[in-house]
């Protein structure tokens, strides 16, 4: 049934990868439609008719409704295809997965994205994704990298206590954290020596077949 869904994505987009891993973990196979960020296809009239926010990824349902934004797409998929829940099974777990997925996103993924968007030459004038143009603020790059480093330390401390970020079970929070760590290479940041719990977790998570998605 998931093949009536269309998933607009870009191969090198870390936000797209978050959803591709989520789909692979759940065994869902929507029709994948690549959007070429290199040529600015996300700003084309055709794509803006699909997602006026001009970003990938976006999921289009059978009735033509577009759901944009990674946590929104994940929420839809976990509700429409409840087998193998990745956002928690009980009210308490659902709250905790949102909390920890958000921790990974706001403390890790977002600073990594902010660092890249305010640094890279080809993103001049495009420091924030979306329909509006914003100039880069070079001073933000160092702060973003410091935040990302603090995130890795906090993440390591958390993983000294529990096997997965949200607790006892693999969840969307682990997906966002893993994608963040891979993405952080763009800022030449990797797991510091001595963050053993984090390194162990990363090795285990990276072996899941979904992670090549």
């Amino acid at each position: 049934m998931s093949d009536t869904l269309k998933f607009y994505h870009a191969v090198n987009s870390p936000n797209s990868r978050r959803v591709r891993i989520f789909l692979a973990e759940k065994g869902l196979k929507p029709t994948l439609i690549p959007v070429d960020l290199g040529t600015g296809e996300q700003h084309s009239e055709a794509y803006r008719a699909i997602n006026p926010r001009r970003v990938v990824p976006a999921l289009v349902l059978e009735d033509g409704t577009t759901i944009g934004e990674v946590p929104a797409i994940m929420r839809y998929l976990d509700e429409a295809f409840p087998e193998m829940p990745l956002l928690g099974a009980t009210p308490k777990d659902k709250g905790l997965v949102v909390m920890w997925e958000r921790f990974a996103e706001l403390e890790g993924f977002a600073p990594a994205m902010e660092g890249v968007r305010n640094k890279v030459e080809r993103l001049k004038g495009r420091a924030v994704a979306g329909p509006h143009d914003y100039e880069q603020i070079p001073g933000l790059v160092d702060r973003s990298m410091l935040r990302l480093t603090n995130f890795l330390t906090d993440l390591n401390e958390r993983l000294e206590q529990v096997p997965f970020l949200a607790g006892e079970r693999f969840s969307a929070a682990d997906i966002t954290a893993l994608v963040t760590i891979d993405f952080a290479k763009a800022l030449e940041i990797s797991i510091p020596q001595g963050h053993r719990a984090l390194a162990r977790w990363k090795d285990a998570i990276s072996k899941r077949p979904s992670m090549s998605a």
Copy 2:
């Protein structure tokens, strides 16, 4: 049953207000426990034992579990107390509410917070909420204000098409958008003349009894 919950909040915290309105809309009455941000009570050992992220709000369940972060608290509450859903009733609506609540938060609320935290004298060295200290970046203030202004324009366009932010029904997305607009006064930003759909929506939403929460 909701009186076995403890809700840690601050009266003047806009993030706390998002949840207080949510609670009022659902008729839930947890035990409210104020945290004095003025004296830095969020950094006290007592509060850090409750929420190591050192921010309000936080919801503590009967079993002692802390759920922090506004969307996580909302998710827990809508699952544990499903009457009067504020995050949507069908998979599609749930996805759309997450998408539009996130739009209000990331495009409106977060820039407002970023503007204030990078501007205000008493937040020097505390430009990002949480356990780590970061210096202010004054250049961020103007960009945040520009983003907030663009948000109001985008929000007005959306509300020219639908009665509520996420579509046909009042939802958490309206709560976050309304709190953002009230909070934007701290940066001396208000709804521009001519944003009629937005002004009309704000008047209607502001009359709901929950909004005094």
